[in-house]
């Protein structure tokens, strides 16, 4: 619902990039669910967007391990809502070069306004040194593109 005075932007062109967030530094190491990347996008009600995370994981020492990555719509970084996608990554090498993966999903906005999307990393139990890798020559990127309008 639009309110008086609210700034409304119209995404006219399907495929139009709405927002991009690029990380150039590693996430902190994590041993349980942790928000490791995020992007904010201004969306319009009933507009469907593609949310993509092109990210990489690595480990610093220890054995090869599995990491689960979840793509969420979130009210805030500490208040997750709908899960949009989930993938598994198996990290074999413990180097500074990450094993890259893509999470891709769709989200239909239920209101006009800013929306937050986050990636949550979850390593195997007991692993404390898993990270999302990002640097100037291997950035991790999240993006939001407009796809289509759906009648309510």
């Amino acid at each position: 619902m639009t309110v008086i005075g609210e700034k409304v932007q119209q995404w006219l062109i399907p495929g139009q990039r709405i927002a991009t967030s690029t990380a150039y530094v590693n996430s902190p190491g994590f041993s349980s669910d942790a928000v490791i990347h995020s992007v904010r996008a201004f969306l319009l009600e009933n507009h469907v967007c593609r949310v993509t995370a092109d990210i990489a994981f690595s480990r610093f020492g220890g054995n090869p391990r599995r990491v689960q990555a979840f793509l969420h719509y979130a009210h805030a970084v500490d208040d997750l809502d709908a899960q949009i996608q989930r993938v598994n990554v198996y990290v074999y090498n413990g180097t500074s070069i990450g094993l890259s993966t893509i999470l891709e999903g769709e989200y239909k906005a239920e209101r006009n306004g800013e929306h937050l999307f986050v990636v949550v990393g979850r390593p195997d139990v007991g692993n404390t040194d898993t990270v999302m890798i990002a640097n100037s020559t291997q950035p991790s990127t999240m993006s939001v593109d407009f796809i289509r309008y759906e009648e309510p």
Binding site: L12, I13, P14, G15, Q16, P64, R66, Q68, A82, Q83, I84, Q85, R86, V87, N88, V89, Y90, T101, I102, L103, E104, G105, E106, D145, I147, R148
Partner: protein, 146 residues
């Protein structure tokens, strides 16, 4: 573009033409190539499209490998892209793969794009994995309009 102007399809680079959202698992497959996803699209002559699969597979046995193909029209149709995927662990987990190809329509037509899977290593029952909170996608977008 003006307010009220009618918008015809296949006009804009990046424009989404059709999407298949797969929210349930495919039937299992082993060493026979099997269709696991299909998308049928109205295409226009001389328009170039991007065909993209973003999905995941799993197996009942660890360390299987799966060859995933993007084909035109049918199991015996032209191969547009191929990739292989290693499944290191089981438990019905989805391991992702993305395949992408370009397609230029020679004539106005109805074309199907299919994704197939075949196990090339291991002994498990493999499948494309889809769920409402972890779907697989097969879609077509305009790259270059006429």
């Amino acid at each position: 573009m003006l307010a009220g102007q009618s918008v015809e399809p296949n006009q804009f680079p990046g424009e989404r033409i059709e999407t298949a959202i797969i929210t349930s698992d495919s039937p299992t497959f082993t060493t026979s190539e099997t269709v696991v996803a299909i998308l049928t699209v109205d295409v226009l002559a001389d328009v170039t499209y991007r065909v993209r699969f973003a999905g995941g597979f799993g197996s009942t046995v660890a360390n299987d490998s799966i060859r995933v193909r993007l084909r035109e029209n049918a199991l015996a149709g032209p191969q547009m892209c191929v990739g292989e995927l290693h499944i290191p662990v089981v438990s019905g987990l989805m391991f992702p793969i993305t395949l992408e190809a370009q397609y230029t329509a020679p004539i106005d037509d109805v074309v199907s794009f299919i994704v197939t899977g075949v196990r090339v290593e291991g002994t498990g029952n493999c499948r494309l994995i889809g769920a409402s909170t972890a779907p697989s996608f097969l879609y077509v977008e305009v790259v270059e309009p006429t």
